[in-house]
Symmetry: none
Subunit: 301 residues, 2 copies
Amino acid sequence: MKESFNPDSPPAPAALAAKVRTLAPSMTRSMQRVAEAVAHDPAGCAALTVTGLAELTGTSEATVVRTARLLGYPGYRDLRLALAGLAAHQQSGRAPAVTADIAVDDSIADVVTKLAYDEQQTLADTAAGLDTVQLGAAVAAAATARRIDIYGVGASSLVGQDLAQKLLRIGLIAHAHMDPHLAVTNAVQLRPGDVAIAITHSGSTGDVIEPLRVAFDRGATTVAITGRPDGPVSQYADHVLTTSTARESELRPAAMSSRTSQLLVVDCLFIGVAQRTYETAAPALSASYEALAHRHTPRSR
Amino acid sequence: MKESFNPDSPPAPAALAAKVRTLAPSMTRSMQRVAEAVAHDPAGCAALTVTGLAELTGTSEATVVRTARLLGYPGYRDLRLALAGLAAHQQSGRAPAVTADIAVDDSIADVVTKLAYDEQQTLADTAAGLDTVQLGAAVAAAATARRIDIYGVGASSLVGQDLAQKLLRIGLIAHAHMDPHLAVTNAVQLRPGDVAIAITHSGSTGDVIEPLRVAFDRGATTVAITGRPDGPVSQYADHVLTTSTARESELRPAAMSSRTSQLLVVDCLFIGVAQRTYETAAPALSASYEALAHRHTPRSR
DNA sequence: TCACCCTTGAAAGTTATTTCCAACCCCCCG
DNA sequence: CGGGGGGTTGGAAATAACTTTCAAGGGTGA
């Protein structure tokens, strides 16, 4: 995906709420109202005509259609159909008990429950929203890459390190760059056949975009892992992997759920690569286990 | 039969095939053809317009609409909507063999699904197994600590860094030590009122136990986050937080699920602390957001 | 402050659905 | 065996729904 601006070609089947959250920031005010209504009450909206939904949201038919388009459907008709499916779907699924936000006065037990639930939700959203074609392409590129450079700052830096650690373990040459300057310096060394991976939730982190741009210009295969597939970072990404944008609260910064989402994507990427390099990956993995063994003191049984 | 005849008021939700069988005898030949098509392939029919379905069944639009009426819907539009719901429903009913291990020849899509499921399972397990009393005690200690030192190596090091990053953000003095030697050196500085947190999945990582032991001896409050609460690390821990030990496979090393589990625990710890230091945490959080704002390039709308 | 571009809804245009109606077919009665 | 009669059918008109176009409004940066 180089210059294309359409987030995804196939209309999503069920990951609607996730998609709404992901795309919401790139929507105009009116469209956000429509998207919100749709996400809030899929079943109710499925019962409405274009005109009805337009009136409900205080917008026009045109805006409703535009929103449907943005969500990946050819028109409102198809969105409505998907909505009906979604409604039936969630009706069958039992009522989720924990929907409330985490509050300041929640008990510890509540925090654990809600947090675990939120994270699970984030995982489900991410899995549903992940474009497996893009992922497959990224995997293929990484599996045969001469070297893999990974860029991430702040919380995303840890995700990058995690990926680098694992790729190193299966014998690939991977490096997570935390210093933006060194990242750029190193990116210059890349060439076709190499892979550069940028991790940024916002999709607009300059310190991460810059090295990716350089890598892109040098002809390396570039991958962006971002929650904003429409952000600037995608400009320089051959493959864009979208992480989910979960609702955040005051106590639960976005970094928390984006990290979960990013880790899932990164893990999928890793396993994909491990599959494709199984011959070398498997022995490398067990070798690294053995190397660590003496670092563990005997168990007190 | 008059055009306005309506067999029953509530449009059936899902029992469509049954209704078709029940009503089939009372249908005319053409209508039976339509009903049969609908019952045979709900999903396919949902994708068709009146005209399309009429052509498919070799009948006319009028007949299709009549059939929809007979089945209890106001018109074809509504039948189609119900059909879409039904299709989604039975698609989800198709139980994905998600419990199976991730295999070398799994498709990318399978990997994503299975991995997300496994992670969700890990989260549920962790939440269920977490001792909220111990967690509460750890939170209380951390919230009032003069300084917080965190020890972790390997994959756990990233979790430690994550925790340190977040605690720093809300104005606490936290440091994640990655170098075992420096960790010990620093642990010597600890005293009562300080908190030391060791993160080790195996519970027997010497490089992590050693600094914790020192901290423990110095009188600091010590916390262990481990998957083996019976391991050596617990010896020197005032509070033990247990992470779950999910099944691992050849392609999915233990590090992956233990990391998920550790992160949940660490997040719970963080939110607990944030709750207890809300007065200072909230402003500190928003301040850190603003400080980063200029690092993001403007959005491409 | 002005020019520009993005956003928006009204209205026109297109497609889908529903209604109407005449032709047809089948069955039964004469 | 032939001629009604009632039910069945599809063509076509009418309506409703959806999509596209376009010009006015509003915000933003120079």
